[in-house]
């Protein structure tokens, strides 16, 4: 219903609409539900449809938890999307399942992609062919609640030691010792597992994975990183896993002073009216070493799109990975443009919110996931074993490393 009105207002004029609908190609675009992403895409679709009256794009969304299921199920049912968004870590699964078709070299030349996008785009390249293009890239930073930090009379931390210190000073507890407001959110299933894997492990002098993609964090560095994290709850009592159910919910409600989260959260946090918040780079270690985790969702073309649908899908993909689309995405979702020229503008680098994320991109790493959900679960279980079952951290770390390595081995077979 609403869709039809949007179209009507765009095309403006009944005869014109009849004309266009007679020749229209309709393509389906799929992504998961995330309010600001959906809004941004609505905006991009209306821009695109205005410029291409012969193409209509229908946006279909699913809850994140069901998204992969729905994509693969639709593939089995033969009614898949024409253009779809996918996490770079899902590519192997989707490619093997025949969900995606490689991008046509003639339409999207490899050399051009590689010179214009940030280098992490190569994570969606297989056997010389690209399977998608990102609109935006995401990196992590530390969000802080200005009101709570001011109340405690502390400045945003720049090192890990300061982070612990600030968190301790901003944590509030009730008479029974229960946390009523966290210093730092602890949500390992959220972004913290990335923070641990690609940032903390490296800052403690380790490498999460070796050159062959095998697990290499079961070392002293990994142990120190794990201890640093679990100590936040057990030794320093600055946060509680499960507090307010999700870290972002706690921060949003003004019940957490700091949270590690990504660019994609900017849109949601922009809706906060009760307090001001700011962003700083993820804290460095004592030697000044910093790291970050970058990732992205790419848009690819579904294997079911052929002929005129494929041509329409290519046009749409080209538009949603254009500089113009990236600006819309940055404004609405807050994710950083995947093209260098669109990202590294003077305005962005001077922006107090974007600058920490852009700086993070310079020293960011991506994790080559074989099974993102499964690998995340092994990390979540690792922390749970220590926090909930008091398992020896070294044993828990070894167990996690073995479980994750088994997944990597299984995927290589």
């Amino acid at each position: 219903m609403r869709k039809r009105f949007t179209l009507a207002s765009l095309v403006a004029g009944i005869s014109f609409m009849a004309l266009s609908s007679a020749q229209a190609v309709e393509i389906e675009y799929w992504q998961y539900v995330f309010e600001t992403r959906v809004n941004a895409m609505d905006q991009l679709i209306s821009n695109f449809e205005a410029a291409n009256p012969d193409i209509t794009v229908k946006q279909v969304t699913f809850p994140y938890a069901d998204y992969q299921t729905k994509v693969i199920a639709s593939q089995a049912g033969g009614n898949g999307p024409d253009v779809l968004q996918f996490f770079y870590g899902w590519l192997d699964k989707f490619q093997q399942g025949g969900v995606l078709q490689p991008l046509d070299e003639a339409v999207f030349p490899t050399a051009e992609i590689e010179s214009e996008f940030f280098p992490i785009v190569s994570a969606v390249k297989r056997d010389g062919a690209y399977y998608g293009l990102p609109t935006a890239v995401r990196s992590l930073a530390l969000f802080y609640n200005k009101k709570l930090l001011d109340e405690a009379g502390v400045a945003p931390p720049t090192t890990l030691d300061e982070l612990v210190d600030v968190a301790m000073q901003t944590t509030k507890t009730d008479g029974g010792g229960n946390i009523t407001s966290e210093g730092l959110t602890l949500d390992f299933a959220g972004q913290d597992h990335h923070w641990w894997r690609e940032v903390l492990v490296r800052q403690m002098g380790g490498e999460p994975y070796d050159a062959n993609g095998n697990v290499s964090y079961a070392t002293d560095a990994g142990l120190q990183a794990l201890n640093f994290y679990t100590d936040l709850q057990t030794a320093h009592n600055v946060g509680l896993v499960g507090f307010m159910d999700e870290g972002q919910a706690a921060f949003k409600a003004g019940l957490a002073a700091m949270t590690v989260d990504g660019t994609f959260r900017l849109g949601a946090f922009n809706a906060i009216t009760d307090f001001e918040w700011g962003v700083v780079e993820l804290p460095a270690n004592a030697d000044g070493v910093r790291s970050n985790y970058a990732s992205y969702f790419a848009n690819g073309i579904g294997s079911g799109a052929t002929d005129e649908k494929k041509a329409a899908a290519e046009k749409f993909l080209a538009y949603i990975s254009s500089t113009e689309a990236m600006q819309v995405w940055l404004d609405v979702v807050g994710e950083l443009p995947a093209r260098r020229d669109a990202a590294l503008t003077e305005a962005n680098l001077a922006d107090p919110i974007y600058a920490p994320f852009l700086k993070g991109l310079e020293y960011a790493h991506t994790t080559t996931f074989v099974d993102e959900a499964g690998q995340r679960q092994t990390a979540v279980d690792m922390v749970n074993r220590v926090l909930l079952e008091n398992q020896d951290p070294q044993a828990s770390l070894d167990e996690a490393a073995a479980a994750e390595q088994a997944m990597i081995d299984a995927a290589k077979k």
Binding site: V60, P63, K70, G77, M244, D245
Partner: protein
């Protein structure tokens, strides 16, 4: 309270009837009953609170408002899911009332070779859990294009062994003379079932209808699997996805949960006697 207990002791000592004991029983039952509906009360109470008040554990909201309902209902999703659930549950219920009665009647009132075998075969499906069938159903649905359609949600439940068994039990109590009389009046077998036998087992039909409707209204597992587009979600599946999307805004989640609960509660308040009797009947005979 203390006075009542003292009084009760005295009366018991006098070997009078156990009335004070009854008062105690009644009070305990009332407290237990109120505990039972506490989740419902808090659900409704929170749905009338603003985001800031959620953390306030008061049962009666300070400034109750229907803002959350307006917010949740404004985009029409809930209405759609509500209608989907109503459509699915009604269709499946009608189908069960028709087919389960027809089969139950046939097995109760007709003599033919193979009757016992058919009865046992149908009854044996009670032992097969739905979970075992979902994978083949899913495969079947994807091949036949039933995924993500109303028919896809409904087809597994169009007939049930439970309903057939229940109806058979009841049709067996219908005297043969009634049916024979109708036969002499020249009604055909279908008419005899529909016009004569069915009205005689109305209590059983209502019990079957209540159970089938409620079961399908609250069904979660199969609709979760078979639907992919939001427009086809049933209320429970819609609510679940809605709750995840709200990224833990409890007042909105409670409003959604309340919206899913209100219809069955209203129906119950109107038809309490009827429903309780139906459940008793189904439980005893089933």
């Amino acid at each position: 309270m203390a006075e009542m207990t003292a009084n009760g002791y005295e009366l018991a000592a006098n070997r009078k009837p156990i009335r004070p004991g009854l008062i105690l029983t009644w009070t305990v039952l009332l407290v237990g009953g109120l505990l039972m509906i506490t989740p419902l009360l808090y659900m409704f109470s929170t749905s009338l609170k603003s985001a800031g008040q959620v953390y306030d554990l008061r049962l009666i909201p300070l400034a109750p408002s229907f803002d959350n309902y307006v917010k949740v209902l404004s985009d029409g999703r809930f209405m759609r899911w509500f209608l989907n659930s109503a459509l699915v549950a009604t269709t499946v219920t009608l189908s069960n009332v028709f087919f389960d009665s027809l089969v139950g009647y046939t097995l109760a009132k007709f003599e033919f070779r193979g009757r016992y075998f058919i009865f046992l075969a149908i009854l044996s499906t009670l032992m097969i859990p739905t979970e075992m069938l979902v994978i083949p159903w899913y495969l079947m649905s994807s091949q036949l294009g039933w995924l993500d359609s109303y028919w896809g949600i409904m087809f597994p439940g169009m007939m049930t062994a439970f309903g057939t068994f229940l109806m058979k039990q009841f049709f067996e109590t219908v005297p043969d003379d009634f049916l024979e009389a109708a036969r002499i009046d020249g009604l055909n077998e279908f008419e005899i079932w529909w016009k004569v036998a069915m009205p005689l087992v109305m209590p059983a039909i209502s019990a079957l209808a209540i159970f089938t409707f409620l079961g399908n209204w609250t069904a979660f597992f199969w609709p979760l699997i078979v639907t992919t587009s939001k427009e086809l979600y049933t209320l429970p599946v819609g609510l679940s996805s809605f709750a995840v999307e709200q990224s833990i805004q409890w007042e909105l989640i409670m409003t959604g949960a309340a919206l899913a609960t209100i219809p069955t509660l209203l129906v119950f308040l109107v038809l309490q006697r009827f429903i309780v009797r139906g459940v008793m009947l189904a439980g005893l005979k089933g």
